[in-house]
Symmetry: D2
Subunit: 418 residues, 4 copies
């Protein structure tokens, strides 16, 4: 059997291929010479499967997509609190190349605009431009799962036309936000932007974010879950510049684009996505890339605000086995249990408490239990025991590990009779 | 057994009760006289269970929280496309009382700032102020599940100090965004803001958003799923004014606050939340309310970007029953299957195709299947059949309804042997 | 002999008549119906002579030109200090219909933009709209030297389209800059703008400013000299909106334009000028009016920064009459003597003191002496006397009145020998 | 006799010496070390007399005062039209260190803010920083009347803290307003700002502007009259940054300040003024300097909008000499005759034409005649002749040169009988 996923990506890609609008970024001479017809799409699952079509193996410069990961690296090195003192996380409503500094402090609005990204860049590693770039290159390589390098020609070309970024660096220096040589900073920042990646690389990098910070292929933990939540939030509110609101509504996938033509998107717990097509709209976002994401979001239900389809009841059944003194009330739970599911079970038991002296919870059909649901269920078990019941668990696969009810008491496992 | 959920809410509430910072809104005389110590918290599940603690039955004015629902009503009446021509959905980075109109068109940045909310208000119903208010009151009542009414004293008091809103209405008229009498518009808008709700009402209203647009108690469909996605997106990027980015990162729940002291939050598929405490910070958000939401988000894992805990494998087991010609390859699936899960199953089968002539999918342990996953699995079945296999389903509970493989072929159900 | 001044005005007017660019103001329906070809030019001297050509007797609405005089009236009623607390005098660099309020205080940038003019309007007289208008009408009438009245149709038309001004009034109320009903304020303000004037009226009104505040025809003192200096300064820096700098450089005449098509200009000590042509450029200034002023400034040397032509020496001659003990050193002064002239005389005497015991100053050829020059010359005389000289004055026409040298000593007049 | 002018300057200086508010500029380390108590005042007449008191011979850095003259030099080299394409002349309402570029074009608002001054700097001479500085140094030296040089320590110190200016230069490069290396440009610009001048130098430089562009001491013409008018206009509207309106109203002297503590002022046709006191207010203007200028303006009547004292009639007398056919109507004119004076004479003659056949104009008491007045009087003479009169002039001193009446006719001089 041929896997239908690539076929589906082909379909999406073919449907968008005809979008010929937009212009290749021209402000950097070397970028202007990219082939405008290149087009690649890739998708990486949190399990590490990578699907891709078109020019997904062609290298291009990462540009602003690097902002997400270098900001992540800055937080890794300094902690979120310290970084927030230098870079805010508010959408500015401004284009990417607006200065958008906070009045008084000079703090950039967020790390996705250039001023914020330059500041994040200076927070990484030592101040020597070569060493700093090496640190960043290594981080991006760890995310891509292969050794990356910068395109020297693009980087030099970019540096020669980096007046706006140099201006930002100088202005950030006047506020003490940046303290190093503006020239040094923009030199290594330009190099950061010129790191070469493929669409497949980007999908894998995005999948690390989708996977809670663990690289889906290498298994390496790169970011803590809390940092990933933060990065995804910043991407959602600030990643698409002044079309952030439109993107959040229409696509609903935390994303980031770059003027090289790439876009990445990460849907928590689901997939990392990437596209590459150099023709850009006036916001600086890839025209075909946007269309790809809109289709993927729409067709695949990959919208952050999508409500999961109505699930079968978490309390799959409630029955009594045995009679009289031996009667056992068996609650059979099923599916993925989060706060809502646990609440439903508990509410039912609180409303209609078991008459039997022995109560068993059969978790055989349970797929997974969230942290808060686990604590809620354990509290439910503890309260039943306080009410004088004997409580047992049927949990061969350990979906409710360490069933400690407080005070060292453990729930007695009950061998399923089935 | 006593339900531990109220206990938990009490815990959260007690932990936040000590936050005495902030000031009661004073720009409206009537608001200034509210009791600053009132404090209520409520939680409504998508099943319609409502938990609440403290002053959650006390009525207060809905204020800006109404913006979400009246915007929703405007979209219901005119369609999203027409409404977007008058109100954009971009975070402005400005406080709620900034004008923030788009240069040239005069289009307000988003429906959560006053200029946008006033515009949305004018899009509802007939232009007669009483009839318009009645239409809005009825909509809010449907959401609350009970008849609501406006506080006449607050409304009059607000109208008497509504110079800023009158200014906005006049400016919107100069751009043709608003076409009716500024005085009429602000009269009924002030009345909209003065509708009295309890914390419990708000939690139920939020739960309708969390529940994909279906009222969790009455079962009435109020908004289509696509509109709910849109409303939640707008709440996330624009709902907390100029602290939208901070909120998205720290709390991660689409939310909206009002100067009456209320905050609502809706986590798709999970819960509706509401808090009430009149003391506000300088952004106009309830001080204790923010703390409540931070704790609920943190303690209950209610963050939009939270990655679900690693689930047990969707492909629960693969085994062969029978021998030789009669051998049947049985794939047992489990849990909630979305795109990722379907992809995992398909990839496994594509990589390691069954050798047997008969293939059965046992869905007995499957909790639910998403739309795209359903299509992917059907495509997988279709391809297996094209490869010459006979394919059967074990699906007593119909989690994969209408298993049409295209061309009218249906998968043969197989009675589970278990 | 026919006076050539009207001929000259005709020449200027004919030269500009061909300028057909610009559009009649259309935002007020009644204005849109004005005859675009109307064209009048008028010039009033500080002696009260008025010259005019073309449609200079046709009435049109004064519009923003009233801002100068109503601001003057507000200062008359409250004193400059109090008025400055409500209206600043800084050019805003913004168009006339920008809000341009000072951050924090809400103080309008200057009284020539609408927000400042509305504020000035509210400072005049009683708050009753009819009484306030009457006070303003009377003031403008005193300046024009005839009873003026408002065009009721324009005023009503303007009121019906005054959303922007209503918005400003409401916003000014939020800052406490305006405290009265926004509707009342804009009603009487619209009426102020609709006062009907002719080009001749405006020239006479401007001539009052050129004449240090004294009406050139009636002789009534309307503004104190210090207030006139202030009004002219504000006109120069703020009167032509966002082309103030260009106007100051190219024309150099303190001026004010109105959307009715009028422009006034006042050159201190020289003339009041006015033009009328309804077609406006994008700044809202009359196209032909600007050309008229540029020609008048250029051809007539009417630029504020023009340096007067090199004057003949103030110290016309120095000679000795008589001999020995009777020798008298006679200094003959001439022309208009200001600081510079006085300094020149004094320097010469200090450098080359008279050897004679008797010194006479012959002022027969002196045209006028400024205040500071007078004090300087008297000090010079006093010092000569301290040095032991006898000092006499020849001043039949009293250009140096009360020649008190301090301590009660008067200079002895000397009968001119001529 | 001792010249009282220095005594007067001493008086003003003593009255202001007690103003101890303000702070020495600290953003440049070398400036921070200046002696805050230094205080000098100087006054230069258009005849080249220079008066000064206090530390008026102490050198300090010219800083922003150089902007006026380097802008003048740029216009000299390129013409006003070309320079206006790169630098506008509108007051921005912003502080000196705001960027204030025109949307779209990137053109700085005016040459007195840093962005405009940097642009003007780049328009001077060759792009080599040393050669450009030399050209500027030479120009400033010509204005001062002595060889000036830059303070190397201040310049280096300034360059080391010039991030804001470097940022501006880079941003101006992105708009193509500046095309040279930002580092080179700011290097020579910093050097320009560090040129050492004394208060006396500045007064002389200002006097060149007051004198219509002719150096009052060397007699060299440095700027054409039209350029001087332009420079003075720009100083008046833009020279005192965001207190331009206040300055124009309260002082009324075109002026420019520098953070070194200097202020210059130039009153057309009158005097050049300069003060030096390093303590600055929050706008960056010298505190004692402002007080000095306010006193000089007030006490000496040196306000641009001051109306000259009422002059004696220009038409000094009108009499008839002789009888019958020999009767001669003699009009005796007097004083300084500008447009207004000429108009007065002409109006009188037009209203009450001479009955005599011979008319003589006695100009013996006339001090000077402006260009337009000259043309008006000649036209008057021509018309009288057309009316059949014989016209004679009494003009021994040639105040009305070349009395050509058109068509080659000259007025017959008449020997004065006196």
């Amino acid at each position: 059997m041929r896997n239908p996923v690539p076929d589906y990506l082909h379909e999406v890609s073919d449907a968008c291929a005809g979008s010929l609008g937009g212009e290749v970024a021209s402000y950097i001479p070397e970028l202007a010479s990219s082939d405008p017809d290149r087009f690649g799409v890739a998708l990486a699952t949190v399990d590490g499967a990578v699907y891709s079509v078109g020019d997904s193996g062609v290298e291009f410069t990462i540009q602003s997509i690097s902002k997400v990961f270098v900001y992540g690296l800055a937080v890794l090195e300094h902690g979120l609190e310290d970084v927030l003192e230098k870079i805010d996380v508010e959408p500015s409503g401004d284009p990417f190349d607006e200065l958008s500094l906070e009045t008084g402090t000079g703090r950039p609005s967020n790390p996705m605009i250039n001023a914020g990204a330059i500041t994040a860049h200076t927070l990484v590693g030592p101040s020597d431009p070569d060493e700093r770039f090496e640190r960043i290159r290594a981080h991006l390589s760890a995310l891509a799962g292969r050794e990356l390098s910068a395109d020297e020609r693009v980087w030099q070309s970019e540096l020669a036309t980096s007046d706006r970024n140099l201006a930002f660096a100088h202005l950030l220096r006047t506020h003490g936000i940046v303290t190093e040589s503006a020239e040094d900073v923009i030199t290594s920042y330009s190099r950061q932007c010129a790191v070469l990646v493929t669409t497949r690389d980007l999908a894998v990098m995005a999948a690390t974010l989708a996977n809670g910070g663990v690289h889906p292929v290498t298994g390496e933990r790169i970011y803590a879950p809390a940092l990933v939540r933060h990065l995804l939030s910043v991407m959602l509110t600030c990643g698409m510049y002044d079309s952030a609101g439109d993107w959040a509504s229409a696509v609903g996938i935390p994303a980031k684009s770059g003027v090289g033509g790439g876009i990445i998107g990460a849907l928590p717990g689901q997939v990392g996505l990437a596209s590459f097509s150099p023709r850009l709209d006036r916001h600086g976002n890839s025209v075909r890339g946007i269309e790809v994401f809109e289709r993927l979001s729409h067709d695949m239900g990959l919208h952050l605000m999508s409500v999961a389809p109505p699930a079968r009841s978490v309390l799959h059944s409630s029955r009594v086995e045995g009679e009289g003194e031996d009667a056992v009330r068996i609650y059979e739970l099923a599916g993925v249990i989060g706060f809502s599911g646990a609440e439903r079970v508990i509410q039912r038991i609180a409303d209609d408490p078991p008459q039997e002296r022995v109560v068993a919870f059969d978790l055989s059909r349970v797929h997974s239990i969230g942290d808060v649901a686990r604590r809620m269920l354990l509290e439910c078990l503890r309260r039943l025991r306080l009410d004088g019941r004997r409580v047992h668990l049927v949990d061969e696969q350990g979906v409710l590990p360490d069933p400690d009810l407080g005070g060292g008491e453990m729930v007695t496992p009950l061998r399923a009779e089935r």
